[in-house]
Symmetry: C2
Subunit: 245 residues, 2 copies
DNA sequence: ATTTTTATGTGTTTAATTTACACAACAAAA
DNA sequence: TTTTGTTGTGTAAATTAAACACATAAAAAT
């Protein structure tokens, strides 16, 4: 919204809405739902609070917006401070504003979610020893409205995964079809038919099959694939292609 | 995000993120993208600013979040102050935070969109004479990032209209199939096949065909329908039905 | 050497959904 | 009684989604 140079008494409805007081200022926080995938399960990264209020309880990572940055930058900073990572997929989710959501002080929080590949960005990248990955269904009770944030993040992730190629953000550069299917099954929380899944993925024609095999899980080995981002973007650009699983 | 009782010097990364300063407080605004439908075209409601900065330019309606309300309530209040309407469909859209988005003062704005039926809620409900409905494609250049907000609102509305029965919020209680189709064509900005559209709508089985006809547009007259909200909700509840157009 | 084990890789048939498409009926106005 | 503009209706073809089973590879065990 737009702000008059100085607060003034409302003379009409228009300016009445644009009247504000110093004490209407609030603290704006950013909380991050960090999703990770370890080739088998979808996880979220949580920390144990070492300060009041709610010290000792688990929560999302978060921080406050600073005067000289926008929310995206704040979210990137918060994530980077915790994990040391940069160049991570992040997306604004929703803004939470219940008056008493934080019993300590009036705070509005803008939730973001991030997608990272747990294995490529090792655990030792995590800068806080009180941070831990939790399987989605084993996440503990969190402070404030953080559980609500996670629920919304999951449903946003499910929708995104079906309509955009963001699953690859959660996988290493090279992955097997089985890993990709495991990822989708974790995100969607349901089993998929192997042949239909592979047929569908192949019909999208955005993966490159390598000559290389992953031998870690089966005796036969499984071919590795990479997501061809350039090809995908070209298809979007030129043919109005849209990724739909 | 969670707040320590008092600001303190960061001793570790965890508390570093939870360190804030008085001057990090910001003003939080709410801006409303108000969509209306007049049986033919999709429109948005804009006002001409009568205060600085950008006095005389068109903008969305908006206002500031007050200490004792949450964002949904602020959006409802802002809409009600302008239009006198209540019980309107509203949904939080996105939070805009570019540092210099408002040249006057650091302000973060949470955009909401609202859906109202222009005819049922007459123009005389509008409390500001500088407010006006604009056809979507005739909307003027707006202040700040308001045009960006509208673009995002349109794409959200398109997605919602395809997957939830929110179109009916834009129509009067009773409407013809043609009006419903016009609405969808306006929202999606493309022509639809009449027979396929009707077949699809009928297959959803959530409309009730009345014995009454609308005689205003054709000599033959067109049957009126109403959306059976209870039936819809029962189907969702009992059969996991989901509205997909 | 042979057998066992375990995950990989591959196609077809059927069902469901979506798309394309044209003309008669109505009733007021001319 | 003819003209006009809008309503209302069904089917065939094409596309997409769903169901479904077995041979192969290669290491490990015998």
């Amino acid at each position: 919204m737009e702000i008059p140079k100085e607060a003034k008494v409302a003379k009409d409805i228009n300016s009445q809405l644009n009247f504000y007081q110093k004490e209407d200022q609030v603290l704006l926080a950013v909380d991050c739902i960090i999703f990770g995938f370890d080739k088998t399960n979808l996880k979220i990264l949580l920390i144990k609070r070492n300060f009041e209020p709610e010290k000792g309880k688990w929560s999302l990572i978060g921080g406050f917006l600073k005067k000289n940055e926008n929310l995206d930058q704040a979210a990137i900073r918060v994530l980077n401070t915790l994990t040391g990572l940069s160049d991570i997929y992040m997306e604004q989710l929703y803004t939470y504003s219940k008056v008493d959501r934080d019993p300590g002080q009036r705070t509005i929080s803008v939730a973001y979610f991030a997608l990272i590949d747990v294995d490529s960005h090792q655990f030792d990248g995590i800068q806080i020893d009180s941070a831990r990955w939790f399987d989605l269904d084993e996440a503990p009770e969190l402070i404030f409205d953080h559980n609500e944030m996670i629920r919304k993040a999951i449903s946003r992730l499910q929708r995104r995964a079906m309509t955009m190629p963001i699953g690859f953000e959660l996988l290493p550069e090279k992955f097997t079809m089985r890993q990709l299917q495991n990822l989708y099954e974790s995100i969607l929380d349901k089993k998929l038919d192997k042949r239909n899944f592979i047929n569908k993925i192949n019909s999208l024609d955005v993966l490159v099959k390598l000559d290389e095999k992953d031998m870690t899980v089966s005796r036969k080995g499984a071919y590795l694939y990479v997501f061809d981002k350039e090809k995908y973007e070209k298809k979007v650009e030129e043919d109005g292609f849209s990724f739909k699983l």
